[in-house]
C-alpha cells in the first residue's frame, strides 16, 4: 500500500500542456450562457446591484437555496443508501432494483408532478392528507426525481472498490456497519459529493415541479418576468448563474482539501442484511413505488381511460402507435449523441483536474458545472442568441442537430464531468507506474490501463446525460431543427391540448426507451466485468481483491 504521494508527482499520461489548453477551451465553451446573460443585462441597461439587493429578489433566492439544499441533502441520503443496498448487500431482487432505481430520472418533472398529483391529489386514486404542495411537496417530488444523480455515480463507485480494506477492517473486529462507515463510504465520498452537487444545481434550475407545487423560487421569478420585464428576468438569470459559479467554485476548492482514499478491484463484499432485510426491502420498494410505479400507473390509467377529445390525436387503447416511431428514434439518437459528446468534451477537464490540477482546469470545471443550475430555456435562448449571430458557416448551424446536441452538452456537461472525475480519481497510480517501469508508452498506458479503469465512472456520467436528454424539453423546442420531434416534445404537445391518453402512452414509451438504453450502462456492465476478470487484464492481479490505496 502506498500512501501520500503528492499531486504534482502524478504525471498525466498525455501531454500536460495540450491537456490544460483543451480543458481551457472547453471551459470557455461553457461560458457562452453566462456570457449571454451578461451581454443582455448590459445592453438592456438593467441595474444588477438594485435587482440583487431588492426584497423581491431576496425571498425567491432564499427559497431557491432552501429547496435546492434540502433536496440535495435528502437525495444524498436516499441515493447513497439505495446504492449501498443494491451494490453491497444481499438485498433480495437487487438485480432488478439496481435498474429500476435509475429510471425515475427520466420522468420529466412537469409530467411526474402532474402524475403524482393525479394519484394523491384531491379526487385522485388515493387522497392524501395533507395535500402535496409548497415546500414539502416540491421537496418530495424533486427528491424522487433526482436521487438517481447520487445513486448512479455512487453505485458505479461501489462496484469498483476493492474488498481488501473492508476485509482488514472485519478482521480487526469491526462490524459490517462499522466497515461500511469507516471504509466503504469514505471511498464513495467523491461520488456522493459529485452527485449531491448535481441535485443541488438541478434544484436551483427546476421550474416544472416548483411551479406545480406553487413554491416561489428564483426560476419562477425568471419565468414570471420573461416577457413582461425582460431586464429583470435576465438579471435574475445572471444572479442564479453567479450563485451557481460560487457554489461550484467552493465545491472545487474544497475537493482539493479532501484527498480520497481509493482502492480498485473486483469481487466486492456483500454484507448480509439479516433483520434489516425487511425494512431495506420496504424502503427500496417505497422509492420505486413512488418514483416510478406511481407515475407509470397513472400513465396507464390515462391510456386505458382514453380521451374524449376531438377527432385528432391519440385517443386510447386500440389506436395505432405508428406516430411514435419517429419521435422514439429521434429521442434515442439525440440522447446517444449528447451522452457521447458530453463525456468526450468534458473528459479533458475531468482528466486535467485530477492529474494536472491548475487554475485553468478548476475554472473550466467551475464553468462546466455552473451551467447545470440554469433553466434549460435560458441555456437554449442563450445558445440561439449566439448561434444566429455567428459568422459565416457557423451561422448555418442554427437550428440543426449539431447545435441541439451542443445545447444538451452545455446544459448537462456537469453530469458527465462529476462522475468522470470521480472515476479518474479512483484509479490508483500504482498500475500506471508499474507499466511505465516496464517501458509501456503513454498512449498505450492511457488506453489499456486508465481508460478501462475509469470506464464505470464515464459510463455513469454518460447514463446521466442520456436520461436527462431523453426528457429535456425547452432546449429541444427552441434549438431543434424544424420538424424534429422527440418523445418529450410530443408529451408537451399532448399535455398542452389536454390529451391525457396521448401524454400517458408517450410517457410510457419514454420510460421503456430509457430502460432499454440504460440497460447496457447499468446492468450489462456487471456481466462484462466478470468476463473481463476471467480474460485477465490490467486489473487481473487484483482479482482476489488485493486493493491499492493511496491519497492523492
Amino acid at each position: 500500500m502506498r500512501v501520500g504521494s503528492r499531486p504534482h508527482k502524478l504525471r498525466p499520461t498525455v501531454g500536460s500542456r495540450q491537456l490544460t489548453v483543451a480543458a481551457g477551451v472547453v471551459g470557455l465553451l461553457f461560458l457562452f450562457p453566462i456570457g449571454y446573460l451578461l451581454v443582455r443585462t448590459v445592453t438592456l441597461g438593467s441595474d444588477l446591484g438594485n435587482t440583487l439587493f431588492s426584497s423581491t429578489t431576496a425571498r425567491p433566492l432564499v427559497n431557491s437555496l432552501l429547496i435546492a439544499s434540502s433536496t440535495a441533502a435528502l437525495s444524498a441520503v436516499v441515493g447513497t443508501t439505495l446504492a449501498l443496498l443494491v451494490a453491497r448487500t444481499d438485498l433480495p431482487g437487487r438485480s432488478i432494483w439496481r435498474w429500476a432505481l435509475a429510471l425515475p430520472l427520466v420522468i420529466p418533472s412537469f409530467v411526474g408532478a402532474t402524475a403524482v398529483l393525479a394519484a394523491f391529489g384531491p379526487g385522485g386514486l388515493i387522497e392524501l392528507v395533507p395535500r402535496i404542495q409548497g415546500f414539502w411537496g416540491a421537496l418530495a417530488i424533486l427528491t424522487l426525481l433526482t436521487y438517481p444523480y447520487v445513486y448512479l455515480p455512487v453505485l458505479a463507485r461501489l462496484s469498483t472498490t476493492a474488498s481488501s480494506l473492508e476485509e482488514a477492517a472485519r478482521l480487526l473486529g469491526d462490524s459490517s456497519w462499522q466497515a461500511v462507515r469507516k471504509v466503504v463510504l469514505p471511498q464513495a465520498r467523491g461520488s456522493i459529493v459529485a452527485g449531491t452537487l448535481l441535485v443541488f444545481l438541478y434544484g436551483l434550475s427546476d421550474f416544472g415541479a416548483v411551479s406545480l407545487m406553487r413554491f416561489d423560487t428564483i426560476t419562477r421569478a425568471i419565468f414570471s418576468a420573461q416577457l413582461s420585464d425582460r431586464a429583470t428576468s435576465l438579471t435574475l438569470g445572471l444572479v442564479l448563474a453567479l450563485v451557481a459559479l460560487l457554489v461550484a467554485a467552493v465545491d472545487r476548492s474544497s475537493a482539493g482539501r479532501r484527498p480520497p482514499v481509493t482502492t480498485v478491484g473486483s469481487g466486492q463484499l456483500h454484507y448480509a442484511l439479516g433483520w434489516a432485510t425487511g425494512p431495506a426491502l420496504g424502503f427500496t420498494a417505497l422509492v420505486v413505488g413512488l418514483g416510478l410505479a406511481t407515475p407509470l400507473l397513472v400513465f396507464i390509467v390515462w391510456v386505458v381511460r382514453g380521451s374524449s377529445t376531438i377527432g385528432v390525436g391519440y385517443s386510447g387503447l386500440g389506436d395505432s402507435l405508428g406516430f411514435l416511431v419517429e419521435p422514439t428514434l429521434s429521442s434515442a439518437g439525440a440522447a446517444a449523441l449528447a451522452a457521447a459528446a458530453a463525456v468526450i468534451i468534458t473528459l479533458p477537464v475531468a482528466y486535467a483536474s485530477v492529474r494536472r490540477r491548475s487554475w485553468v482546469s478548476e475554472s473550466a470545471g467551475t464553468a462546466v458545472t455552473s451551467v447545470f443550475a440554469l433553466p434549460g430555456l435560458v441555456v437554449a435562448i442563450a445558445l440561439a442568441f449566439w448561434a444566429i449571430r455567428a459568422p459565416g458557416l457557423m451561422g448555418a448551424f442554427y437550428q440543426t442537430l449539431p447545435l441541439l446536441v451542443l445545447g444538451y452538452v452545455l446544459h448537462f456537461g456537469a453530469q458527465a464531468l462529476g462522475p468522470s472525475q470521480a472515476g479518474i480519481a479512483g484509479i490508483p497510480k500504482r498500475f500506471d507506474e508499474a507499466a511505465r517501469t516496464l517501458g509501456v508508452g503513454a498512449r498505450r498506458r492511457f488506453l489499456t490501463i486508465e481508460l478501462p479503469l475509469m470506464a464505470p465512472g464515464i459510463l455513469a456520467g454518460a447514463g446521466l446525460v442520456l436520461l436527462s436528454t431523453l426528457k429535456e424539453l425547452p432546449a429541444t423546442l427552441i434549438l431543434a431543427p424544424i420538424g424534429f420531434e422527440t418523445l418529450a416534445t410530443r408529451i408537451w404537445n399532448a399535455a398542452e391540448d389536454g390529451f391525457f391518453a396521448e401524454v400517458g402512452i408517450t410517457a410510457l414509451v419514454l420510460v421503456v426507451l430509457s430502460a432499454v438504453l440504460t440497460w447496457p450502462l447499468l446492468i450489462r456492465r456487471g456481466i462484462s466485468r466478470v468476463g473481463r476478470d476471467h480474460r485477465g487484464g490490467p486489473e487481473c492481479g487484483h482479482r482476489r481483491g488485493v486493493g491499492d490505496a493511496e491519497s492523492r
Binding site: 402532474t114 385522485g124 416577457l227 420585464d229 390525436g313 423546442l477 427552441i478 424544424i482 399532448a494 391540448d497
Partner: protein
C-alpha cells in the same frame, strides 16, 4: 477514421443547410398552437398553393421570446400565437409588420390589431357550464362577478392552472384592474370554489352533479356531450358583454424581418379562407373569426352573443403576473 466520418457529416450538413435555403417557395412558421390543432391545415395549404411550410412548435411565450432574441435574423416569417400576451409582446417589441389590407379586411375590427399587425384566426369563448337538472336557467347570474355570492357557495368549479382560465383572468385585470380581479379571485376561494385539473374534469363534475356550475371554454361541453349525449350539462354565455364570456383569439402576424412577406400574407389569407375556417368550425368546434364563415351549427352565432373582447396589445406579457394573483388568492389547482 473518426476524422473522415466527421468531415462527411459536416459536408452533408452544409449541403442540407444550403438546400433548405435555396428552396424558393417556402415559409417558416413559429406556431404556439400545437400540431394536433393546426397541422392538417398546413398540409392542405402546401398541397393547394405549392408553398412549402416549415413549422417550429412551442409555447407561444417561449417562441415570442426566441423571436425577440433572434432579432432581424429570425428565420420565422409568420408567428401564430395561442396566448394573447405573446403576440402583444411582439407588437410592443416592434417586430411585426402590418398585414396587407386584403387580409385584414377578412376579419371584423374586433378581432384584429388596430394597426393591422395581427389578425385573429379562431376564437374560444369563456362560458359558465351548468347542470340543467339542478339549476333553473332563469336564475343564472348576469355577471361572472355574481359567483362570489352566497347562493353559489361550494358550487362553482374552476381550473386555476388552465391556460385559458389564466388568459381570461389576465383580460379581467386589463379591463377591471388588479385589485378588482384579486378581490374576485379571493371571493371565489372564500366561497368554496372547487378546483379541477382541467376543463374536461369540470364539465364531467358538472354533468355528475358534483358541482352545479363551472368556468370553462365553450367547446368542452360540446365534446363531452358528443361522447355522452345524456350529460345534463349546458353552456351559458354571460350577457351584455360581461368579461365572463370573453372571446380569446388565436392570432397570426407576419414578422417585420420576413423576406417572404408576400408568401406570409398569402398564408394568413389561406388560414382565413373558407376551408381553413371550416376546420375550426367542424373539427375543433372553435369560432371561425373570418367574417361570413358560420360556426358549427351546434354553436350560437358569435354576433348574437355580444361576447366581450379586449385589446390584446395592452396585455404585454402579463400572464405570469396573473399566475401570481391566482396564487395570492389561495385558489389552488388540485
Amino acid at each position: 477514421m473518426r476524422t473522415r466520418a466527421s468531415v462527411t457529416v459536416v459536408a452533408a450538413l452544409a449541403l442540407l443547410v444550403s438546400a433548405c435555403g435555396s428552396s424558393d417557395q417556402s415559409i417558416t412558421i413559429y406556431s404556439g398552437r400545437t400540431e394536433n390543432l393546426i397541422g392538417p391545415l398546413l398540409e392542405d395549404f402546401t398541397e393547394e398553393t405549392g408553398i412549402g411550410v416549415a413549422v417550429k412548435y412551442g409555447s407561444s411565450a417561449e417562441l415570442a421570446l426566441l423571436i425577440s432574441e433572434e432579432g432581424d435574423r429570425s428565420p420565422a416569417d409568420v408567428f401564430i400565437s395561442q396566448s394573447p400576451g405573446a403576440v402583444g409582446f411582439l407588437v410592443e417589441a416592434g417586430l411585426l409588420r402590418p398585414l396587407e389590407s386584403g387580409v385584414l379586411d377578412l376579419v371584423s375590427q374586433k378581432f384584429r390589431n388596430a394597426r393591422g399587425l395581427w389578425v385573429g384566426l379562431s376564437g374560444r369563448v369563456r362560458v359558465l357550464v351548468y347542470n340543467r337538472e339542478m339549476v333553473d336557467p332563469a336564475s343564472l347570474p348576469g355577471s361572472i362577478f355574481d359567483l362570489t355570492e352566497p347562493q353559489y357557495e361550494g358550487q362553482v368549479g374552476v381550473a386555476p392552472a388552465n391556460g385559458s382560465f389564466q388568459d381570461f383572468v389576465t383580460a379581467m385585470r386589463e379591463v377591471h384592474g388588479d385589485e378588482v380581479t384579486l378581490d374576485w379571485l379571493e371571493g371565489l376561494e372564500a366561497n368554496g370554489a372547487q378546483t379541477y385539473v382541467n376543463n374536461t374534469a369540470i364539465v364531467q363534475a358538472v354533468g355528475r352533479g358534483q358541482v352545479r356550475y363551472g368556468l370553462v371554454n365553450h367547446y368542452y361541453n360540446f365534446r363531452a356531450r358528443a361522447e355522452d349525449p345524456s350529460l345534463p350539462s349546458e353552456n351559458y354565455f354571460f350577457p351584455n358583454g360581461d368579461i365572463g364570456s370573453l372571446v380569446i383569439a388565436t392570432a397570426a402576424g407576419v414578422l417585420d424581418s420576413s423576406d417572404d412577406s408576400d408568401l406570409a400574407n398569402e398564408f394568413v389569407e389561406y388560414m382565413l379562407g373558407e376551408s381553413a375556417q371550416m376546420f375550426y368550425s367542424q373539427e375543433t368546434l372553435e369560432y371561425p373569426l373570418a367574417s361570413g364563415v358560420q360556426p358549427s351549427s351546434a354553436l350560437p352565432a358569435l354576433d348574437t352573443l355580444n361576447a366581450a373582447t379586449y385589446d390584446f396589445d395592452r396585455l404585454g406579457g402579463g400572464l405570469e403576473r396573473t399566475k401570481e394573483l391566482i396564487d395570492a388568492s389561495g385558489l389552488e389547482a388540485p
